[in-house]
């Protein structure tokens, strides 16, 4: 299929990140990455990936020129993976002659919407883990501090399963920027993140009947091994990973809560069960 349809330019910026979000998107079963690059996303609409350091042809100046050209069009979607290091005037992360902290603000200001892929850009994530030597913050926080009002949508997960991102992007392209009602209190599409892992977990029956795993590899509910499924919103149990091939709890590993603002500090130690106080605090946050 040729892109005769409306093309939505996309710029993908990377801050304090590990490239896991990019690699996860490359794992998308359908639409495949090839479809995202060359074909329509939905009838009549397609993406135009202009800038993405990991895959683009251009290098150095040549790449940055594409970035500035796309920016001046002011009609692009900005995708960000990675948190924003703000310590030492942003010098913990630079691109070209600019700090990432400035770059993301400049690009966000010119974009239609900012889609934060991954827990780092959404909430700070691993990059902001204690003691957070670089003062990493989320993209939304950085934009707030700099007085930028471009709307943001979060697609957390460390990394997110590709369909969570593709669905969010497609939703924006089909029907525009989501309203407050369509997002949860931490900026995620309810349509994608509306369910607690624990509520749709196939081992929920084991929890109800009190069949608990005591050692890694045991059958049964994983809460005694520290599972954070009761405090984590994600479509993992419903959609699985890699076309439903597997997912962490099916693989006998407790959920570590990677889609939540508390990841990693509030969700760890990963293999210890929350005490009553921590549990209550987490439930308060979920409301």
């Amino acid at each position: 299929m040729t892109k005769k349809s409306e093309v939505h330019p996309v710029v993908w910026l990377q801050g304090a990140a590990c490239t896991g979000c990019t690699i996860s998107l490359m794992n998308s079963p359908y639409p495949k990455l090839k479809n995202l690059l060359l074909d329509e996303l939905v009838p009549g609409e397609s993406l135009g990936l202009k800038f993405m350091a990991t895959l683009m042809g251009g290098t150095g100046e040549l790449a940055l020129e594409v970035l500035e050209r796309t920016k001046s069009g002011k009609n692009f979607v900005l995708v960000v993976d990675g948190a924003v290091p703000t310590g030492e005037e942003g010098r913990f992360c630079t691109v070209g002659e600019e700090t990432f902290a400035d770059q993301v603000v400049r690009l966000a200001q010119a974009s239609i919407v900012v889609v934060n892929i991954g827990t780092c850009s959404s909430y700070g994530g691993i990059s902001s883990g204690h003691p957070n030597l670089t003062d990493c913050i989320s993209v939304s926080e950085q934009l707030n501090q700099r007085g930028i009002s471009t709307p943001t949508v979060n697609v957390p997960g460390c990394p997110p399963e590709p369909s969570w991102f593709v669905d969010t992007l497609a939703r924006i392209i089909i029907s525009g920027i989501p309203s407050d009602d369509e997002l949860d209190s931490v900026g995620r599409l309810k349509e994608v993140y509306g369910t607690l892992v624990h509520d749709s977990c196939p081992r929920r029956g084991d929890f109800t009947t009190g069949k608990y795993a005591r050692n890694i590899g045991d059958e049964g509910c994983l809460v005694e091994l520290g599972c954070k499924g009761p405090y984590t919103n994600s479509p993992c149990p419903d959609r699985g990973w890699h076309e439903g091939l597997n997912w962490p709890i099916k693989n006998n590993h407790p959920c570590i809560g990677c889609t939540e603002p508390g990841f990693p500090d509030l969700m760890s130690p990963f293999y210890e069960k929350f005490g009553m106080e921590e549990a209550e605090e987490m439930y308060r946050r979920l409301k």
Partner: protein
């Protein structure tokens, strides 16, 4: 003298800047700068040791399985349970790491490197539309070509025919590397950042379902690697045969070895491994054993305080952003005081010289077909060739490991976290050799240091002013057009830099 700054180096992992001084068309001086610091080592301090496999994977989204295994082995060592890892756990770890290697090597040749040699404009000129790349051709005709173009102008030699074939394989390789990740997730739950590798072994016992799902994917991948990847690399290498003379780095290679073939043998060097370790130095073709105590991290030109200097068992990573003379967030690891290259070229040469039958055969065949000798592997094309050969060897070993899995038997040993202890975990990672050093006090991590493949390769100068391997590979290179430093980009990418790993 002309100064050229290439920032960002794209089609690699992460944030890398290369600065060159070019005089009369020759690179006189080169600086490699890692431009992102996160501080994961300091983040690990004070945490539950068991969390290390989850956190250290977040060092890198491209090779998390390698960090998971290095980290798990560091804990096995600290907890004293290396000999208790059940065979299934050892095999599943190998299979997950193998899947990660395949994904990473295929990604590197096609999706990161191919555009250094393949000019997308060569596809537009093709009259007969190849059915495999018809989508791509019509896309290039009807759009501005992004993200495949713009590209550096320069010497692209593949011509229409090979370009079309390589472009077709670029698209097919997207599916191949995805299948490789699916294999990791069969035992790992998900990828990137698997949830299957833990201290003591792995979380999922093999069963018939996992074995059949794994085997069928491996067979499809094997076909692609043997029929397309290896011949594709050889075709490109023959067309660009002068690149067997370009990008020659340091004469020293190091690798700890990886993929346990049997249970832990009492020490790292006495354990039987699929890829063997060793050191090759200037003196030629003799391989010595690695002495871990001779590794130091130097920080003369890295933005860190003095606590970050020394052996990884005793250092602390303290950022010093205003440090005079600093130009990179990458530390400079040295072995016996000297820079060493790590990666597939190092590993394949060491294994060839040590008489690893599989590597001897596969590398021998590939060198014959490409028309090159062993000492030409230290080059741009040598690195690409060795990476492909390594991929084929790993696929072949994986077939043997799947066969040995015992359905329903345990894959994990139980253990208690001790109050105190220390350990080391060593693994082969796609970009080279990887080490994790851990110390535990009061059952919490009191120190954790990583020396990662690209830390070696992309390292800055040391206290003697000796440039790192990638810097040395750039120095002396003839650059045709300083505004389009294509030769430099090809040299840098041949190392497959992973900057999130290098700095962490």
């Amino acid at each position: 003298m002309k100064q050229v700054s290439i920032d960002p180096i794209t089609r690699i992992e992460g944030h890398l800047k290369i600065e060159l001084d070019i005089d009369s068309g020759l690179v006189k001086s080169a600086q490699s700068s890692g431009t992102l610091f996160r501080g994961l080592e300091e983040m690990l301090r004070g945490r539950d040791p068991r969390d290390a496999q989850r956190i250290t994977q977040r060092v890198c989204g491209v090779c998390p399985a390698a960090h998971a295994i290095a980290s798990a082995q560091a804990l096995d060592d600290t907890f004293g349970i290396q000999r208790k890892i059940p065979p299934n756990g050892r095999l599943e770890r190998n299979l997950m790491l193998g899947g990660n290697f395949i994904h990473s090597h295929v990604l590197h040749f096609y999706h990161l490197s191919a555009l250094d040699y393949l000019n997308p404009h060569d596809l537009e000129g093709l009259e007969l539309e190849d059915v495999k790349i018809r989508d791509l051709q019509s896309y290039l005709k009807s759009s501005d070509g992004a993200p495949f173009t713009p590209e550096y102008s320069g010497d692209y030699r593949l011509g229409n025919g090979i370009s079309a074939a390589l472009a077709g394989d670029y698209l097919e390789a997207l599916d191949v590397r995805k299948k490789a990740h699916q294999m990791v997730s069969i035992f790992g739950g998900k990828m990137p950042h698997n949830m299957g590798t833990v201290a003591g072994g792995t979380t999922r016992k093999p069963d018939i379902d996992s074995i059949t799902k794994f085997t069928s994917r491996l067979e499809e991948i094997k076909e692609f690697v043997e029929d397309r990847y290896i011949p594709g690399v050889i075709e490109v290498a023959r067309t660009y045969d002068d690149y067997f003379e370009m990008g020659k780095g340091v004469p020293n290679f190091i690798e700890y070895g990886g993929f346990y073939l049997k249970e832990f043998g009492g020490s790292h060097s006495s354990t039987s491994k699929g890829l063997k370790g060793g050191v090759v130095s200037e003196d030629g073709n003799s391989v010595r054993e690695v002495d871990l105590s001779r590794i130091t991290e130097v920080i003369e030109h890295s933005w860190y305080g003095d606590e970050a200097r020394g052996h990884p068992t005793e250092t602390k990573t303290t950022p010093a952003v205003n440090k005079e003379g600093g130009y990179s967030w990458v530390k400079a690891p040295r072995y016996k005081g000297k820079p060493h290259e790590v990666g597939p070229a190092a590993r394949m040469k060491i294994n060839y010289l040590k008489g690893n039958d599989l590597v001897e055969r596969e590398l021998g065949n590939a060198m014959k077909e490409a028309g090159v000798e062993l000492d030409q592997l230290n080059s741009v094309m040598g690195r690409h060739l060795c990476r492909a050969v390594e991929c084929k060897c790993i696929v072949s070993m994986m077939e043997g490991w799947v066969e040995k899995l015992e359905p329903g038997e345990p894959s994990c040993a139980n253990y208690e976290v001790p109050e105190e202890g220390k350990g080391v975990g060593l693994a082969s990672a796609p970009r080279g050799t990887l080490g994790h050093w851990i110390k535990i006090e009061n059952s919490r991590i009191s120190n954790y240091q990583l020396v990662v493949p690209t830390t070696w390769n992309a390292s800055p100068r040391d206290e003697q002013g000796t440039p790192g391997p990638m810097e040395q590979a750039l120095i002396g290179t003839e650059i045709d057009d300083p505004d389009n430093p294509l030769e430099a980009a090809r040299i840098v990418r041949s190392f497959d830099p992973c900057m999130a790993c290098a700095v962490h």
